[in-house]
Amino acid sequence: MTEHAYLIVLLPLFSFLTIVFALRWKEQVSAVFSVGMIATSLIMSIMVLIETLGHQGDYYAAAFSIVELGAFKLQLGMLIDPLTAMMLVVVTSIGTCVEIYSIGYMKDDPRFSRFFAYLSLFLFSMLGLVISDNFFMTFIFWELVGLTSYLLIGFWFEKKSAADACKKAFLTTRVGDLGFIVGLLMIMYYCGTFNYAEVFTMIGAGAVPSGIVTILAIGVFCGAVGKSAQFPLHAWLPDAMEGPTPVSAIVHSATMVAAGVYLVARTMSIFIASAEASMVVAVIGIATSLMAATIALVQVDIKRILAYSTISQLGYMIMALGLYGVDTANGHHSPGFYAGTFHLMTHAFFKSLLFMGAGSVIHAVHTNDIMEMGGLWKKMKYTAPVFLIGSLSIAGFPLTSGFFSKDEIVATTFGHPVFTVLTLLIAFMTAFYMWRLCFLTFFGEPRVAHRYEHAHESPNTMTYPLFFLAFMAIFAGWTGIPALKHGFASFVAHGEGYVPHADWVNYIVSSIVGLSGIGLAYLMYIKKSISADKIAEKFKPLYNLFWNKWYFDEIYQAAIIDPIMTFGRWMWTFDGKIIDGAVNGMATLTMWWADVKMWIDKWIIDGAVNGAGFIVRMAGSVLKYLQTGRMQFYLILSMILVIVMILLKFEIAHINIEWPSMTVIFIIAVLALSIASRFVSEDANQESENEK
């Protein structure tokens, strides 16, 4: 089966294409078809997992090129190792649950088929991301899950909040991808390949300078920060809750946002080569986790609480992986790698359970506000218990999945006291806010009557998947318990398998922490012996900070988005006024120059030509009077000229006249004569007219 694992990926794609091109109008058929495809993928994934269990160590890898330019190759390939096999089962099983659940949840939605098409496309992208054997292919599917996340968050795009949220999600994760791309470029530049195994071998052998490895690892981690909603790129995830709840359950809690964690786990070999980069990872993880937990303490929107809880839990995993990198780089043993991946798996189950349970509640009461709920235990006989199971698991109640995986994370922090304290603090807060949520939703008196009146249990298509997930929320974690020889830990391991550590102390401490968190919530919201309002009043600034989500949205709006938009408008003005201004200015200048030349043309050049003509015409108009037509006049004129010539020739008059002067005199004489003759002729004309 393993060699045909690509079918697991392709079946959801097939489902997407079939729905889009053939089944779009047949709603029930498309839903059933799509469930059938993902269920088949699930079965195949389980087969792959079983085969992989039998072949620990020898991983299956295959690839083919889509670009070949000399040494530069871009390939698509698959790599099946325990981590992949585990993720395949997680994604397909939750995928199947979510699709079945959606049949009930999305009933009567006008875009029912489209929803299943999008979900199938998402599953295709997610599975492709999981199965990939190189950075390039991972990046392809990394972006594709981003696209499907965009589509699914904006599924109800008529709502402005949803339209805003999907854009925000896409852009914020893309900011993280900037770092990822730079990381990829450096990998290509220094290693000449994208293949995981080859890159890890080269980095492991020290073929890449250590400073470069640090930058490169942080670059790759930037991608994870965006996708897994880690600080400072976490702000999109709570808004992503605008999507339909099944989407939140699979895309924004169990699988896609865990892709960042998966990426760090997958590329762990890079991080263990750089303690600095790993420390960055660990610090970002713990900081995110703490911040998100504090926000979750005070929120009232059921899905947003879960969203912040998701961010917080992802921070946990990231931190565990980071600490593994730090410890391993420093030559210590650490359970961090399988702690992170183990928690990734258990979290996927209990968090999707919680989201789908929350969806069931929202389906019943038509509100997200837990302050308008209360007492739903009586109305929701199935949803309430399974939701509580999920809450127990996330709170780390003994013997649930969350308990075992969280213990591994706590164990990872030993040796880093600050991390230990904060991790326990976060565990405490997690237990508190989850049970605050449970108590306010399911117990106590109904606070808004009409919400309670109309509340009802959800249909079977929605509750049955919850039962399966509730089962997993308890027992998925048993794969890693001491009684079963820490099976998970030796299966999904990086380098070494399970490392013995102080199990029992650890178990007791985290049990106490989890239970006290639940207890505090009980005292505040059921017994009401501690007033939540008073505490809020007492720590007003902190409360405001948490309530307003640490003001991240406002800060980003003011510090990044607004300046970029303003800058864009400036650039546009610059474009119109300066660059195009220069172009148009040059045109204007040319036109002006043309005007000047035209003036010169008209008055100087043409003026000279016309002037010559004018003089000729004027001369003509005067000289014409010499043409009197009278014989006597011509004779007299000739005689005078002959006499003058003779006088001049023999210098009889002793007048020394130069030629030029003579010419002038001649002309004047001619003119004078002609004018004189004009009067003569005019007189003659008049006379002749008078005679008539």
Binding site: S65, I66, V67, E68, L69, G70, F72, L74, F136, F139, I140, F141, E143, L144, L147, Y150, G154, F157, E158, K160, A162, A163, D164, C166, K167, F170, L171, R174, V175, D177, L178, I181, V182, L185, M186, M188, Y189, I564, M565, F567, G568, R569, M571, W572, D575, I579, D580, V583, A587
Partner: protein, 493 residues
């Protein structure tokens, strides 16, 4: 004969169209489309045949000539293609036919319009097959004439301004090209205008002369691309031109600039190229970021797409600067093809909406996704393709550009250029949200109808090709790799 037929079939077609009676508008439209299908099919066949028989070597294929044309000046009729011109021919053939189908919405002087369009096609084909400088220059200039009239007669409200600006801008560049060509001609011995020989000759020129010629050619081609800061003719021309002309302008005409750089400017003057490479990359990066930022501020759909072209062509310049990397050169080619497909499609899509709504103002719309599902799905696909989503051609192009540029150029500069990826997503998604998501205004846009069959016929081939190139780019890289490797060797000499 094949290459000549690509040039002369449109010209014969133009004559046929001119002989038709002008009242028979539909007949003229169908004739024009029918004629343009022939060079399209020829170019497709050529691509296939080149791929099968010639893609292994870098030599010119299907050579015609040199036949003596003006013997006293040693001007020859000389055609030939290699791996970088073949895809451009196919792109030209396809986009011309699609544009002519899109031109069915032109309502007056259809005869003249179709004739000009076919003349334009002849010119474009000519540029991509010419191997003689004189011939190249003739085709380069011939195109200006139909383009000028297509914008100036059938354009929008400011069509005269846009047409003149386009014409003068390009002509301004052409003067520099002419001077550079003359320098090349007179310094070669014996005087020749054969590009292939001049590529050899260019490398032997003195450094100063190389710089002068390089910069002169660069100005001419940069205006066409357009490279920042020579880009301001583009938004005006695009916005004023009718849809089909915008498509051709974006999809083919801009590519002539980058093609000419790759064919002439770059290999001819290696020394100048080496010393100017950083500055070219810088212009490219400025173009990427600047185009994206300005796109972010746009209120008009067409102008947004136009400025996004500035950004996308910036990627080409960035990669062109990395002359020693085959990957970067393949990236340039992919970006040219991909930009042709995607931006061509975006202009078509904007035209489809404009034909119905008679406005292109982004703010006037909202929530169209509810009313026009098929149109929205296609627009989403092309927007995603434009912002470089994997699985589409734009991504492969950008990725190869980044990898190639990173391997040779200043790595900080390349790092900055990556910002374009986020800004690109920002302006595309902003547009998409404002037009397609949100509340639908039933009273205002209730009458809009979804995309029709003819319009699907125009955009679906582009969509399919965008996906095909994006998912399996190998055939295209195989087609070009020998030529590109040879080119890289020449440029790096």
């Amino acid at each position: 004969m094949i290459l000549s037929s690509l040039i002369f079939i449109p010209i014969i077609g133009m004559i046929i169209v001119m002989l038709l009676p002008k009242e028979k508008e539909d007949l003229i439209r169908y004739t024009a489309v029918g004629i343009s299908i022939i060079p399209m099919l020829v170019s497709f066949w050529l691509t296939y045949d080149y791929f099968v028989n010639f893609s292994g070597s870098a030599a010119m294929a299907y050579m015609e000539g040199p036949f003596s044309w003006i013997p006293s000046l040693n001007v020859n009729y000389h055609l030939g293609v290699d791996g970088i011109s073949v895809p451009m021919l196919a792109l030209t053939g396809l986009l011309t036919t699609i544009s002519l189908i899109a031109s069915f919405s032109i309502k007056f002087r259809i005869k003249e319009y179709s004739a000009f369009f076919l003349l334009l096609e002849a010119g474009m084909m000519g540029v991509f097959v010419a191997l003689d400088f004189f011939l190249f220059y003739v085709f380069w200039e011939i195109m200006l004439v139909p383009m000028y009239f297509l914008i100036g007669v059938w354009g929008g409200p400011r069509k005269e301004y846009a047409a003149i600006k386009f014409f003068l801008y390009t002509l301004f560049g052409s003067i520099f090209m002419l001077v550079a060509i003359l320098i090349m001609y007179f310094t070669s011995d014996p005087h020749t205008l054969n590009m292939l020989e001049l590529i050899e000759h260019g490398g032997t020129l003195s450094y100063t002369l190389q710089m002068v010629c390089f910069i002169f050619f660069f100005i001419a081609f940069a205006i066409k691309v357009p490279v920042w800061p020579f880009h301001t003719w583009l938004p005006d021309a695009h916005v004023q031109a009718p849809t089909a002309v915008s498509v051709i302008l974006a999809a083919v005409l801009l590519k002539m600039g980058t093609y000419a750089m790759l064919r002439i400017n770059w290999p001819m003057f290696p020394d100048a190229l080496h010393s100017l490479s950083f500055w070219i990359a810088l212009l490219g990066v400025i173009g990427i970021i600047y185009g994206a930022l300005v796109s972010l501020a746009q209120k008009d759909l067409k102008k947004l797409v136009a400025y996004s072209s500035v950004s996308h062509m910036g990627y080409c310049m960035l990669a062109l600067a990395a002359y020693s990397s085959t990957t970067a050169m393949a990236g340039v080619m992919f970006q040219m093809i991909s930009h042709g497909l995607i931006t061509g499609a975006l202009f078509l899509m904007v035209g489809v909406l404009y034909d119905r709504a008679h406005t292109r103002e982004i703010a006037a719309f909202g929530g169209l996704g509810a009313k026009l599902p098929v149109y929205t799905a296609l627009m989403l696909m092309f927007s995603m393709a434009a912002l470089g989503l994997p699985g589409m051609s734009g991504f492969v192009a950008e990725f190869m550009i980044f990898v190639g540029a990173f391997s040779q150029l200043n790595q900080y500069l390349v790092g900055i250029s990556v910002l374009g990826v986020v800004l690109g997503a920002a302006y595309m998604l902003r547009m998409f949200q404002n037009v397609f998501l949100g509340e639908f205004n039933m009273a205002k846009w209730g009458h809009l109808t979804d995309i029709n069959g003819r319009e699907l016929l125009m955009v679906v081939p582009l969509a399919v090709l965008t996906l095909a190139v994006g998912i399996y780019p190998k055939p295209l890289t195989d087609l070009m790799s020998a030529t590109l490797e040879n080119l890289v060797q020449i440029m790096s000499r």
